[in-house]
Symmetry: C2
């Protein structure tokens, strides 16, 4: 069965109030409790819903700096480099991208000094050829999925 408007509404509801119980969800959506259970089970089983990780404000935790790095990698060593990067705690995200066959890295740090250290660690990974780094000054749009869900919830699916 396909992902439908009810699924989207359920996920939106959980986006806004993630620790809501199944029963409460059912009430707010106007469906039976078993239906909500079944939907959640199915979404998990289908791999659409992979979890409810806590969302943290890293800056409130001391990691106030976010930086991005674009890495140029030596031929054929991308997998290897990615593994090394994954071992660095402050590396929060890595994507392989088109372009010069490169990696895109997001990392965090506590201070400028700390950031310097993290960047050095990233740059020193064997196989990294060239890097260009930039610091995030602000985040006008924080990671979100909401608009896409809302579209499906409205039934605007093409």
């Amino acid at each position: 069965m396909a992902f439908d408007a009810l699924d989207a509404r359920l996920l939106l509801l959980l986006t806004d109030a993630p620790r809501l119980g199944v029963l409460e969800c059912a009430r707010r959506l106007g469906v039976a409790r078993g239906t909500v259970q079944a939907r959640l089970d199915r979404l998990s089983a289908d791999g659409v819903l992979t979890g409810f990780p806590p969302e943290l404000r890293l800056d409130a935790l001391g990691y106030g700096l976010t930086a991005f790095a674009v890495l140029e990698i030596a031929q054929g060593r991308r997998g290897e480099v990615a593994e090394e990067l994954a071992a660095i705690d402050e590396v929060c995200e890595v994507h392989a991208t088109t372009g010069q066959g490169d990696l895109f890295v997001r990392m965090v740090a506590r201070s400028n000094d700390d950031l310097q250290r993290v960047i050095d660690e990233v740059v020193d990974v064997p196989g990294v050829r060239r890097t260009s780094t930039s610091i995030a000054l602000s985040t006008p749009v924080a990671p979100r999925v909401r608009p896409l869900l809302e579209r499906i919830a409205r039934g605007d699916r093409p």
Copy 2:
């Protein structure tokens, strides 16, 4: 009171099993129920814990393509452009970065055609001067906070 190892262990626990009840958390952490309650309340109040949004695999939802764009913006129009970008459903994240005073955009799409459309929408935002786009081929490290939490949970705080 500062963020301590117990807080980190609690958040790690919730990372692994986010729909766990307070009582179950207390059992697994070996502390009283009230303590867990109090910690969660405090973390929320302090703004460290902002929620438990559902984590979705967008590709399982039809949005199989992720792309990044770096935008060069006309003098002084960054805020304006950011707002326009926020209005595009497929734009999932925007950061203002150092460099040429630019914006960094993450977006998703269903297909190559669809991506073309999204990129066009982004590029056509008034105030955008130049763009360079790249497509995510793979994601060796998906967004994560875990290593940082684990470090605090171990008590490695400097």
